[in-house]
Point group: C2
Chain length 313, copies 2
Amino acid sequence: MAVTVVGSIAFDAVKTPFGEREKMLGGAAVHFALAASFFDEVRVVGPVGDDFGEAEFEVLRTRGIDVSDIERVPGETFFWAGEYGWDLNTRETLDTRLGVFETFEPKLSQAARDSDVLFLANIQPDIQRAVREQCTGARFAALDSMNLWIDIARDSLVSAIGAVDCLVLNDAELKQLTNMPNTVKAAREILSWGPPAPNAVIAKQGEYGATLITAGDYFSLPAFPLEDVVDPTGAGDTFAGGFVGYIAANGGNGGDEQVLRRAMAYGTALASFNVEEFGTERVARLTGDEVAARVQELERVTNFTDAPVTLRS
Amino acid sequence: MAVTVVGSIAFDAVKTPFGEREKMLGGAAVHFALAASFFDEVRVVGPVGDDFGEAEFEVLRTRGIDVSDIERVPGETFFWAGEYGWDLNTRETLDTRLGVFETFEPKLSQAARDSDVLFLANIQPDIQRAVREQCTGARFAALDSMNLWIDIARDSLVSAIGAVDCLVLNDAELKQLTNMPNTVKAAREILSWGPPAPNAVIAKQGEYGATLITAGDYFSLPAFPLEDVVDPTGAGDTFAGGFVGYIAANGGNGGDEQVLRRAMAYGTALASFNVEEFGTERVARLTGDEVAARVQELERVTNFTDAPVTLRS
């Protein structure tokens, strides 16, 4: 298998109660690729500006990520600045500069087109659909988005969602997209949009974990327990990288419920490392053994088995 | 075993996007008792006013709850009115009238004092401590509270917490109580307050479920999946009733991690019924078989087992 991800490659300025970084490597495609690289070959598609240097490429290459589809364009790399509140559950965007992303039209190499597994990270939904159409051989495709596109390009987003196997959104975005006040109901609504429609919807729930809803199943997994969270930026994309990467490592078999559940666990474990330090700092030096240990611990802290008890009716 | 609960017995006026009730039976002790009654003998301690009638007593008696410690006092029964936002995650208190609760000094019967298991529902923490001191024989005691008491009676609350085995709070309240931005850290801080200190802290997380933190263990359980939630009022107390009730049915053994985990599951299942209709309406006609079926389903939708995968370091 081989995984292609298209999405933002960025510099982030992040301030949290636990520190700050003025300019660090970030972007949805970067966080996704680093996480997915634990499972399979990964190829990143996206534009960078003149300010994107060897040090940034090296973070990706060190994890074996194929950067040959990263396009260098005159101008500035996508830049995002944000500040988080005291318990990291709220954040304010201080600055967004699209830079080279403003005119981005992805031109995929043949190798990218031939990928078996595709992740469309959060970008303008028409671009997501254009990429999906180029990747004719993808056995499994997943898509992330955000409230902005629900607000200003809902029809395009709905079309793009119809072209993938799995939709990954925050639970508030699922509710907004469907105008339904309940996450399970919102997900079931989206599954019923087709054909074509996704087979799976994932509701990302931040510090509470994530929930997977398919036509025939439901699986909810809490976040990995952490006492010290430093920077949540990129957690959702890191989760998606672990999730999609695990599916790629299992033949792109997004229809097997057990594979999907384990993929959720690997995504959750990867995301837990991501938030422990700023940006890509922790995942960049992560080992496979560390990931495996957290998946095992996650299994331990979420497991219960019922035992007989007499209930008084 | 026998369970005693002390706390509010109330009339509630509730408005949600899915309907409203102008005056219905409610209160923390009532919701707790109905849930706990599936597991053991339950005795309710608390005051009611002249307006509390036979119909209300009958809801409790029908579930075999001992109401002989409910004290009738001249005046009005505690009254709460609130309105929930569109996805039920926010609520506004419109009115609170303490009524007979204003001068409540619990005088426990010998039977209540002899209870093996005690739940101190959310009331003024000095009252909670006074009740805890009267129940000298309790093998297991748990306590709930709210942001109001953290604001205006924190020292009293800390003392009361030191006198119980298990603290049950919303995760935002745990953070507020400890001034720590992280739920796990907040819980571990409380476990370290003693001796005396609780052995277990439960973080209630609303639609996301609940997390149990003990000195040696951690267990997180998502909420039961529901598409139609009508009224969340009393969900936390219903959860507590299922949790504490299950422990009572297992000899008050709050030190056994497997018992605690299953207790979390029964609490979660009970709470899921509570929110499907207004007030006590659904739990009042619930059967033990229905509870057992949801616990089994909860086990199914939260279970995963890891499988070997080669991770690329």
